[in-house]
Every structure is written in structure tokens, then in C-alpha cells.
């Protein structure tokens, strides 16, 4: 019998982007069998069996022929079950089981999806990355699992055909039951349905910490909270995504893409609107924070891209893990290199750290007495001093709220009210830094501080007096100015005044009380 050939377009994932893969199916007479070549990994090679069963369960046949499936380019490793669908379509086409109507241009149509044995199509990882790349390559149509449809629904200029079963694909290709392309979603529409995970109104008391949180959100400042166990550090941190401005479309694409690659998007959910909140346990390894594994998968710093990375029990993290955070904190990207892969992930996040004031947690607490020796406390605090502290603008103590107060106090201000103020301050910053490469106060370097943070004479005098009287370090000095800039933005004033400097000094309280000689 004569030879037959089919070409189907698929996509693979490398790092955060997709790359086109030509699935070539060659069917010829001879000893019946099927071979997949082109550096498939085990899950791709296994697709033979899934595809076979799925085709039979979709009312088509697999004639006994010799079949070779090549995934081109042949020098790149292919992995994952996403190639099931293109392979199945290629087999059907090469074996003349289906007759594709001419209105479907296979050279512009991308297929991906995992098949189950009964022919149903399952969602795959990295759908958003593949769809974005496909659109960049100029492909116009995507046939993908219905479970991934929401994820890619906001991409403009693409016809997206969500499918649930191989039969639907066959019907579409043969023109007997054409599928209508999915309606493109408006991101603004999605944003309107934003829900806040933890609302600020649930936080009782904690006026000082609430204020610090608002300031951190308004300026994008990293923050360190010190407080006894149970004082509400985690709860406060969880409020942060809700008071940050919602993700912009671009940010959402970036973040959702990383989540999609990590396989962390629930089937059926769309672009992320809420900023991500990652809280790795303090036993986390360097690889799990930064990214790694055989295929250089994204780590927590990338999963919290455009969101919040919460490190509770900061001193308990291994020194290596804390040191490794410095590059992403500085550059907003991490490059993860592994033998088989190298990937560059975005990782610009706000770091919120929580820690106890001492190993037992009750130093300075009114509720319970601390039983640590001064050396123990010093050793504990020393674990975080240095370069990491340099990157934290706001330090605040969180005092535990007595139970009676939790019951009595009236409902506190809601996240929405705080978020409105934060957004206003952020807009001021965006306008001020337009074209300079910065977008929030936390990013300013010393030169930019000089340029953008003008203050009144009396504010400057006060700052110098504070440096002298409270023995603030030079690094604290610059941080105070940055935070004061944010405070001025919150109050809508152009120049930094005395009140702002004075308040900003309060956010260095740990420098004063813990990391200074004398207290211990």
C-alpha cells in the first residue's frame, strides 16, 4: 500500500515560553507497529497507547500499518502528555480516517491536549505560555482542552476552540459539527469579580501594624514583622494581596503564565486577578525557593511574581536559602540553570517576613515571660542581620491583641477602603517615575532618592537629628527617606515634610530596639 503523511502543529514548553513542534506522522505498509521519535520523554512515548485507545473509543479505526511519528525539531526534548491530541489527529489524517475540510488551515492551527483512554481530553500544564507563544508565532487557531479555555480566554486575536472529547475534534475537522470559537474575555470584566482572600476588617486592633501594611503596599516596600507567636503576623501578611492594586493585564499574563507552567492553575479558572501569595515553610530548600529540579521548574520567588512572598519564621530558614533570595530581590528575575534546561523566570515580588523576637517568642511580651538568655536572643537575631535586612524598608513590631479586645472592638476598616488609598498613592508614583524604569518607591536607588525625594528643610533637620540621637545607620537613613516618600504619596503631598519623616522613623523600630547594642 502506498505511503501517507500528515503534518500537525503542536507546542512544547521551555521555561516560560512555548516553542512550535511539528508532529509528522508517516504511515506505510509493512510490519505493523508505531514508533515515536524526536527526543520524546517517557510520557510522550506512552502516548501511543493512549492515542490508540482514544481513537478506537471515538468510533474510528487504527489500520494495521507501520507508523512513524516524528516530533520536529528533533534535537529538542519533548515532554508531557500535551502531544496526545496532535498525534491522534495526525494518525487519523495519515491513515485517511478523517477528511479535513479545506477551510481549516492545518499550518495555522495549533493542537494540544492530553487524551484519556476513552477519548476525553484533559487539560495540560503551560497552556497560557503555549497560547501566548503561538500568537507571537502568528498562528491563528488553537484547539485545546476545555479545562484550559478560561486560562487563555483573554488572549487577543486568536480563535480558541475548546474541546472535551476527541469526537468533537473529529466533527470539527470534518465539518460535520463545527465548534464555535470561544468568545474573547475582557480582563476588566474578570477584575470586577475580584474576591479578597482575607479582609482587613477581620484584623482586630493592631493599628500600628495595619498602618505599616498599608504603607508597605503603597510603596511596594519589603516588610519585616516581629512579634510573639499568635500575634497575627500571618493574618496580616495574608491581607496584603487584597490591599495591593489588582494585577494589570500584563502582570496577570506574566503571573498566570508562571502558574500555568508550574501546573498550579485549577482547571477551569482563568487569568489570575488576585496577586499571588506564597508562604513557603521555613524548611524550604534553595531549589524550591529559587526554582530548579531536573527541568528547571519555577520556584516560590517566581510563583510570587507580582505578588507577595511571605517568609514566616525568617531566622529558621537556612542561610543558603536566605542568601539566594538576594538576587531575585535585587533584579526581579532569576536564572535557573540545570543540566537539561535553563530558564529565566521573572520574580519581582514583595517580601514580607515574620519572626519571633527570640527563640521562645515572648521577649518583650506582656502576655508571657521570655525564658531565653541574652546570648540565645542575640544568636537568633544574628541569623537575619546583614544583606537581607538591607533590602527590607519597613520593620514593625506586632503586639498580640488581648482576647477581650478582639471581642469588644468594632469592625475595622475594610481592605477595599485601604486599597483605594494604596491605589491612589501608586498612581502618583507611576506618574512620577514614568519613563525612568521605576514604578514604585521601594525600587529607588540612592541617586534616584536624591532626585525624587525632595524634603522641606525642617524635615531634613529632623532626619539628621534622628540619625544622631537614635544612632540610625546610613542604610537606615536612606530607607527612612524612601518610606517617607511613600507616606507623602499617601497623603498626596509633593514634598516630604516633618510629619512623614517622623512617622517613617517609627518603621525602623527594630534597628533601635533589637539590632542596637544596649538593649541586650
Amino acid at each position: 500500500m502506498n505511503e501517507m503523511m500528515a503534518h500537525i502543529l503542536a507546542f512544547g514548553v521551555s521555561g516560560v515560553s512555548g516553542f512550535p513542534v511539528q508532529v509528522e506522522v508517516f504511515s506505510t505498509g509493512g510490519m505493523p507497529g508505531m514508533e515515536v521519535i524526536g527526543l520524546p520523554d517517557a510520557s510522550v512515548r506512552e502516548s501511543r497507547e493512549r492515542v490508540n485507545a482514544a481513537i478506537l473509543n471515538s468510533g474510528k479505526e487504527m489500520p494495521p500499518r507501520r507508523i512513524t511519528i516524528n516530533l520536529a525539531p528533533a534535537d529538542t526534548k519533548k515532554e508531557g502528555p500535551g502531544f496526545d491530541l496532535p498525534i491522534a489527529v495526525g494518525l487519523l489524517a495519515a491513515n485517511r480516517q478523517i477528511h479535513i475540510i479545506p477551510s481549516i488551515d492545518l499550518s495555522k492551527t495549533v493542537f494540544f491536549g492530553e487524551l484519556s483512554l476513552d477519548g476525553r481530553i484533559q487539560p495540560v500544564r503551560g497552556a497560557l505560555a503555549m497560547a501566548i507563544s503561538a500568537s507571537e508565532y502568528g498562528y491563528t487557531d488553537i484547539i485545546l482542552p476545555a479545562g484550559n479555555a478560561m486560562e487563555v480566554a483573554c488572549i487577543q486575536g486568536m480563535n480558541i476552540y475548546p474541546v472535551c472529547h476527541l469526537k468533537e475534534v473529529i466533527g470539527h475537522l470534518e465539518g460535520t459539527l463545527p465548534i464555535r470559537p470561544q468568545k474573547q474575555m475582557d480582563y476588566e470584566e474578570l477584575k470586577r469579580h475580584r474576591t479578597v482572600a482575607v479582609d482587613m476588617s477581620q484584623v482586630k486592633g493592631q493599628e500600628g501594624a495595619r498602618r505599616a501594611l498599608e504603607v508597605a503596599a503603597a510603596g511596594g516596600h519589603n516588610m519585616l514583622m516581629i512579634g510573639a507567636p499568635g500575634s497575627g503576623k500571618t493574618m496580616l501578611a495574608r491581607c496584603l494581596p487584597g490591599i495591593l492594586p489588582p494585577l494589570s493585564f500584563q502582570e496577570s499574563l506574566e503571573t498566570t503564565r508562571i502558574f500555568s507552567i508550574a501546573g498550579k492553575i485549577a482547571p477551569g479558572s482563568g487569568l489570575m486577578v488576585e496577586r499571588p501569595f506564597c508562604a513557603p515553610h521555613h524548611s524550604a530548600s534553595v531549589a524550591s525557593l529559587i526554582g530548579g529540579g531536573m527541568n528547571a521548574a519555577p520556584g516560590e520567588v517566581s510563583l510570587s511574581h507580582n505578588g507577595v512572598l511571605f517568609l514566616d519564621e525568617l531566622p529558621e530558614f537556612s542561610r543558603g536559602a536566605l542568601e539566594a533570595l538576594r538576587q531575585p530581590l535585587e533584579d526581579g528575575v532569576v536564572t535557573v540553570s540545570r543540566v537539561r534546561n535553563q530558564a529565566c523566570y521573572q520574580s519581582s515580588f514583595m517580601m514580607i517576613a515574620g519572626m519571633n523576637p527570640c527563640p521562645c517568642g515572648y521577649y518583650g511580651s506582656r502576655q508571657r515571660e521570655c525564658r531565653c538568655t541574652p546570648q540565645e536572643i542575640r544568636r537568633y537575631l544574628d541569623r537575619v542581620s546583614g544583606p537581607l535586612l538591607d533590602r527590607i524598608d519597613i520593620q514593625v513590631e506586632v503586639d498580640s491583641v488581648p482576647v477581650a479586645e478582639i471581642r469588644s472592638s468594632a469592625p475595622a476598616e475594610s481592605s477595599a477602603a485601604v486599597a483605594a488609598r494604596v491605589e491612589k498613592a501608586r498612581i502618583l508614583q507611576m506618574d512620577r517615575y514614568a519613563g525612568s524604569g521605576f514604578f514604585c518607591n521601594a525600587q529607588l536607588d540612592n541617586n534616584a532618592i536624591r532626585k525624587y525625594c525632595s524634603m522641606t528643610q525642617e524635615a531634613e533637620n529632623l532626619l539628621h537629628l534622628a540619625v544622631e540621637k537614635m544612632s540610625l545607620s546610613m542604610r537606615a537613613y536612606h530607607r527612612v527617606i524612601k518610606v517617607a516618600r511613600t507616606l507623602a504619596d499617601l497623603s498626596g503631598s509633593d514634598r516630604i515634610g516633618m510629619a512623614e519623616i517622623a512617622e517613617a522613623i517609627q518603621f525602623r523600630e527594630l534597628d533601635q530596639k533589637y539590632w542596637r547594642n544596649g538593649t541586650l
Binding site: G364, E369, V398, D399, V401, L465, A466, M470, A499, A502
Partner: protein
């Protein structure tokens, strides 16, 4: 060089673990330690009546060999250690009448520090923040009135007592439980240097090279209590070294002042027990000075007037409100916020301004209090 040889001879004499009374008899029979050494080398006996136990004789014999002697001389030279004996003129008069007074003392710094009125201050190594703070304040206040503070250079209350005393300007006396060549505890090495550079005195009854062994410390506590005209207990658990100091002080006939700790806190259980048993209650340095009859020496002027000059700056209404609230004792941030009905932003700013002017102090646990008149930003 000559005094170094004499000190080395004292190190030799105190190295065999002879009881203080025995050594006192020896020194009374022959006050010159170098002669005692020669006496021993020629006759194998120490001067005096008492027979020498065989074990000790062997020990002394071993230690008077030249390598051990040059080891001591080396340390004595390097660390500028000097020695005094109970028969000498520079020996602190306060220790003389005590039953177990050390016969030999090694010292660094100036022995004149022991001439002024002094108070021994003791307490826990792991004291509460409040205890440490109070110790520092009271020591400083006493020191400003010319009273030397005696303590043990341990961490916690001891270190706070020394620091406070240094800040107040009087010399301070530290008594160690190891040879003076050792920096123990390591963390307080800097403090020790400061004590010496500011005319203070560091004492030990142990010869150079002696390690800080656990049993030295309760025994050395008798010297701490003995070197003070009174003993001030800041914070002590029931079973603690500080309580042995109190026992020594009572045996030595010293007044014992006990600071009232937090009721119910295990860290000051010892205080409360002593107060129930009739120890002298005090809350301020004035209380101690009044009871000890030190008030007439009051030369506490300079700092106070400074402080008044500073508070002459007009306070804003918000500052007045905060200060008024804090008059009744320390308050948390949230308490202030609620009581004054002041937004957090404004309270933050107000607190900073007050802190910068030294009118209030921030404490761990987000607490604030009026700073004491000493001015904590000196």
C-alpha cells in the same frame, strides 16, 4: 619585673587549693611571698605552725618548678596582673573582718576604686527586660552619686550593673570566678576593657590560668557581697547564684536591698521570698541612698538641669496628650491609639518626635514609656 615575680609567687601559693585561713596564717608568719617560696624550696615546708598535708606539699612542689613559674610570669606580664595579700596595705578593708575573706587576691586596674562607698548588685543572668533596665538605671543613679558598683561581670544583671555604673561616671568593680587572663564570659570582654579604662578594678582570688569552673562562682559570690557596703538584688529565682550572694551578704552583716519584681514571675520569685522574710524593699536609688546614709554626698546636679532645659521646648498638643497618657506607666501602641483616638499615622510621628527629644523610650513589645530623667540618649 620584681612585682611580677612576687605575683607569680602568689599564684604558686594559691594554686594548691589551701583554705583561706591557712594561707592567712602563713602570710601572717611571713608576709613576703617570694620568701615563702624560698622557704618552701629549701625546707619543703611553709612558714607558720600548721603542718602541711602531704598532698598539698606534692602539689606545691610540682608547681614551683621553673616551667610552671615561667608560665605564670608570662601571663602576669602579658595581662598586667598584680597581686595583693590579706596582710598587705592595699588589701580592701571591707574584706578584712570577714570570716572567709580570701588571703590572696589578683587584680587588674586601680585598687583605689575600692576606697569609695560601694554597693554590690546581683541578679539573674537571664533577667527580664524590665529587670535589666531597672538595674542599669539604679546603678547609673548610684554611680552619679559617687558610689561604686560591685558585680560579677556575668551577663544579664551583672553586665547591666557595670554598664550603668560606667555611664554614671564612678569606677566599677568586677569580681571574676577564673584567672584574670581569661575572658569569661567572652561576650563581656569589651565591657571589661571599658571597666579597666575608666579607673575600675577587676578582681579574682584565682591564679592566672585558672579555668572558669562551675563551683568557683558561688564561692566567689562571697567576695562580691563582701566588697559592697550593701547588696542590691535585682532579680533572682529561688535556686540561684544570686540567692547565695544574699546568704553571704547576710552572714557578712550587709544590708540587703531587694527590688520588687513582677509578681508571679519565676524570674523574681527569689525577690518575693526575701521580701516576705524581711529584706529591705526599695524601688529607686534614692531609697538605697537614704537608708545607707549616702544622701548628703549628693552631687547629682548636672544631668538634671540638662533635662529640664530640654523639656523646656514647647510640646505640641498631640505630644502633650501622649506624655499625659504615659504618666501612668508604659503603654502599648494600640492602647495609646485607642485611648487618644489618634490615627496610627499621627501617633507614629508623635512618638518619633518624642523619642528623638529623649522624652520617651520605646521598649520591645511595642511599648512606650516616659524616659527617666537620666536621659537615655546621652
Amino acid at each position: 619585673m620584681n612585682t611580677d615575680c612576687r605575683t607569680a609567687a602568689l599564684a604558686w601559693l594559691s594554686s594548691a587549693g589551701l583554705a583561706p585561713e591557712y594561707l592567712r596564717e602563713v602570710l601572717e608568719a611571713e608576709p613576703d611571698p617570694e620568701r615563702i617560696l624560698m622557704h618552701f624550696q629549701s625546707r619543703g615546708e611553709l612558714p607558720g605552725e600548721r603542718p602541711l598535708p602531704e598532698k598539698i606539699r606534692r602539689m606545691l612542689k610540682k608547681n614551683c618548678q621553673s616551667d610552671q613559674m615561667s608560665f605564670w610570669t608570662g601571663l602576669i606580664e602579658k595581662y598586667q596582673i598584680k597581686g595583693m595579700t590579706v596582710t598587705g596595705e592595699d588589701y580592701p578593708g571591707r574584706l578584712l573582718p570577714l570570716s572567709e575573706s580570701p588571703a590572696i587576691l589578683f587584680y587588674q586596674g586601680s585598687p583605689a576604686a575600692a576606697d569609695r562607698p560601694s554597693a554590690a548588685m546581683v541578679g539573674s543572668r537571664s533577667a527580664s527586660y524590665k529587670g535589666l533596665d531597672a538595674a542599669r538605671r539604679i546603678a547609673e543613679h548610684l554611680s552619679r552619686n559617687g558610689i561604686a558598683i560591685v558585680s560579677g561581670l556575668a551577663y544579664g544583671i551583672d553586665a547591666a550593673a557595670h554598664q550603668g555604673c560606667l555611664k554614671g561616671g564612678s569606677p566599677t568593680i568586677a569580681i571574676l570566678g577564673c584567672g584574670l587572663d581569661q575572658d569569661y564570659p567572652q561576650e563581656n570582654a569589651q565591657l571589661r576593657r571599658e571597666i579597666l579604662s575608666r579607673g575600675g578594678l577587676v578582681l579574682s582570688e584565682y591564679p592566672p590560668g585558672e579555668k572558669p569552673l562551675g563551683w568557683h562562682f558561688p564561692y566567689r559570690n562571697r567576695i562580691i557581697s563582701g566588697m559592697g557596703d550593701c547588696l542590691i538584688l535585682m532579680e533572682a529565682r529561688i535556686r540561684s547564684g544570686s540567692m547565695t550572694s544574699v546568704q553571704h551578704a547576710l552572714n557578712q552583716g550587709r544590708d540587703v536591698f531587694v527590688y520588687p519584681g513582677e509578681p508571679g514571675s519565676p524570674k523574681s520569685e527569689g525577690n518575693h521570698q526575701l521580701l516576705r522574710e524581711g529584706a529591705i524593699y526599695f524601688t529607686s536609688a534614692e531609697d538605697i541612698m537614704e537608708d545607707m546614709g549616702w544622701l548628703d554626698k549628693n552631687n547629682d546636679v548636672g544631668q538634671n538641669s540638662d533635662h529640664q532645659a530640654e523639656s523646656a521646648v514647647r510640646n505640641s498638643p498631640a505630644e502633650e496628650q501622649v506624655l499625659h497618657r504615659l504618666k501612668d506607666g508604659e503603654q502599648g501602641f494600640d492602647q495609646l491609639c485607642e485611648a487618644l483616638n489618634m490615627p496610627a499615622a499621627m501617633l507614629n510621628a508623635t512618638l518619633s518626635l518624642l523619642q528623638i527629644r529623649g522624652l520617651i523610650q520605646a521598649l520591645p513589645g511595642k511599648l512606650y514609656r516616659i524616659s527617666d530623667q537620666a536621659g537615655n540618649f546621652a
